[in-house]
């Protein structure tokens, strides 16, 4: 399971171990108290309370060390230290458990089952060989304890009132118990590491597949970039030639010629728009470094509104805005954000029937600005609410309303917003029409955007 460990998850698990230990300490103290006070079991309570106190100090020290070493991110050296802490913790825990058992009945104490937990933890967190070594350590510690107590080398603290206190001197029982104990520990390590190994292999193959996908996506984007760039070059030449025919620079045209060349020109213009949009989107995906600057979002919003004002007026669409007075300077690439907001507004106007309404509401809360663009338009089929942000995807009703469209506008908008560390999504209004919401961080650097 080494792979799982070479990530921040090892550190999380190291903290998790410390948390578990707090529970164990509490259990030890409470179990001692309850057995002695309410069950009348005789045990070396003071030794156990002292052990609890030692455990508290030990756990605090571990917590401090772990925090100190992992504060500055997770460089390889820190990871190695955490690996060592985890290994030592498991060994130390085995020693402590054996000590606790010594003071609380040895073989008579069923808490000896808890060795199994440590084997599971070792198998999950550390490599196979280390887990077997920990099982061997546990065998020596617990086996040694039982044999030394049985042979009278060290004193035995019987759990009088709980189990037969002559058990520890019964050789057959001690060896039978130890045999099952050892087999259990090694089997647990074997099973857990085997399952862990399978999981690790699966995870590795998933990671490989993911890396391959990313690589393929990169190759695809480079391919699209090259192809669209070439197409754009040819289109630019076609357009340049058609331009001068259409404006009759090279001689007069009759009506029919003018009509046909005009059609050809319009189609190349559409094609050019599509190719340009695809080129920009692909470039952004491939390189996509934003040129961050401080700019007034208020001015950008008003600018976008001014740009669509005419088109809205032509369709008798009422365009309203409500911009929070606190909204002003934010950090981002102004040109891209203005274009994104303009695009969403244009879409709203495009897909709203004449006489409808388009509202834009901007609010600021904490470190994010939220811009909501609501229309009384045709709405979005529920199944398409997320798909419309995919490249080339257009909802059926949008296609029916407006035949031409690149299917790239919202993909570009999403790319821009995500690059800034924000989100964009669409919803249908209960009363008809749809709402597009986009959030943008006031300062992407502060919120950790790429």
């Amino acid at each position: 399971m080494e792979n799982l460990l070479k990530s921040p998850s090892l550190i999380q698990r190291a903290y998790w171990l410390i948390k578990l230990r707090w529970v164990a300490i509490a259990t030890l103290a409470i179990a001692t108290f309850v057995s002695q006070r309410f069950m009348g079991v005789s045990l070396a309570a003071s030794a156990l309370y002292i052990l609890s106190a030692i455990l508290v100090v030990y756990n605090l020290v571990l917590y401090g060390l772990l925090t100190y070493w992992t504060q500055a991110g997770t460089p390889p050296a820190a990871i190695r230290r955490v690996e060592w802490i985890v290994t030592l913790q498991i060994s130390a825990d085995l020693l402590i458990l054996a000590t606790i058992l010594h003071f609380s009945g040895g073989i008579e104490n069923p808490f000896s089952f808890f060795f199994v937990f440590h084997m599971i933890i070792a198998s999950i967190l550390r490599p196979k060989l280390q887990s077997y070594l920990q099982a061997t350590l546990a065998t020596f510690l617990f086996g040694g304890l039982l044999i030394l107590e049985g042979g009278g080398v060290i004193p035995h603290h019987s759990l009088i009132g709980f189990a037969g206190h002559e058990l520890y001197r019964n050789g057959t029982f001690v060896f039978g118990f130890l045999f099952v104990f050892v087999v259990t520990l090694y089997l647990v390590v074997y099973m857990t590491t085997t399952i862990g190994e399978q999981l690790r292999l699966q995870q590795e193959s998933l990671e490989r597949a993911n890396a391959q996908l990313e690589e393929k996506d990169q190759v695809k984007n480079e391919y699209v970039l090259r192809v669209t760039h070439d197409i754009k070059g040819h289109l630019a030449a076609v357009q340049s030639c058609l331009d001068i025919v259409l404006d009759e620079t090279v001689g007069p045209l009759n009506e029919k010629q003018k009509d046909m060349v005009g059609r050809a020109h319009r189609r190349t213009t559409k094609c050019m728009e599509f190719v340009t949009a695809l080129l920009r989107l692909t470039r952004m995906k491939l390189t996509g470094q934003l040129e961050m600057e401080r700019f007034s979002l208020r001015k950008t919003l008003l600018g976008a509104l001014a740009l669509v004002q005419n088109r809205a007026a032509n369709k008798s669409i009422v365009l309203r805005h409500e911009i929070d007075p606190t909204i002003d300077m934010i950090t981002g690439e102004a040109v891209l954000i203005e274009e994104t907001i303009t695009n969403v507004l244009l879409n709203a106007v495009k897909y709203t029937p004449a006489g409808g309404r388009v509202n834009i509401v901007a609010k600021q809360d904490d470190s994010f600005v939220q811009v909501r663009i609501t229309d009384t338009g045709i709405g979005i089929p529920p199944a398409d609410l997320t798909r419309i942000f995919e490249e080339f995807y257009r909802a059926d009703n949008a296609r029916a309303t407006e035949r031409d469209g690149t299917g790239l506008g919202l993909a570009f908008a999403r790319q821009v917003v995500q690059r800034h560390g924000g989100r964009i999504w669409a919803e249908n209004n209960p009363t008809g029409g749809s709402t597009f919401t986009l959030t943008l961080p006031v300062d992407p650097a502060a919120t950790g955007a790429s």
Partner: protein
């Protein structure tokens, strides 16, 4: 009617032809070259009042290199350059910021391809009138 001589350096013969027609129609004296070295030959034959330069010819940098070479040439450094580009879009190369100092890319104006005839004429007129 416009007055002045213009040299177009672009490896796309169709775009060159279309621009030539527009500019000649307005009365400019137009010559053209397909790459940097041919451009240099034409420059030496007769010094134009304006150069229209494509940024991407054989290599993506040829236009840049050519414009730099010109500005280091005493004889030609005062000729205004109008650079044509298909990549001035955002997220591609951003010439002005990556240029930084004027020495690096001493280009006077940029236009995106395809250039509309009226835009081209306006820009050319503007550049020539700055002289």
């Amino acid at each position: 009617m416009g007055q002045g001589s213009i040299l177009i350096i672009d490896d796309d013969p169709d775009i060159t032809e279309a621009m030539s027609v527009v500019l000649k129609n307005r009365g400019y004296d137009v010559r053209s070259a397909q790459d940097g070295s041919e451009g240099m030959t034409r420059l030496k034959e007769a010094k134009p009042d304006l150069i229209i330069l494509d940024v991407m010819m054989r290599t993506s940098q040829e236009g840049f290199e050519f414009s730099r070479e010109l500005k280091h040439n005493k004889k030609f450094k005062d000729i205004p350059i109008l650079m044509l580009t298909g990549v001035k879009q955002k997220t591609g190369l951003d010439f002005k910021t990556s240029a930084g100092d004027e020495d690096w890319l001493p280009v006077d104006e940029f236009l995106d391809k395809p250039v509309k005839p009226d835009v081209l004429l306006a820009k050319v007129e503007d550049l020539l009138s700055r002289q």
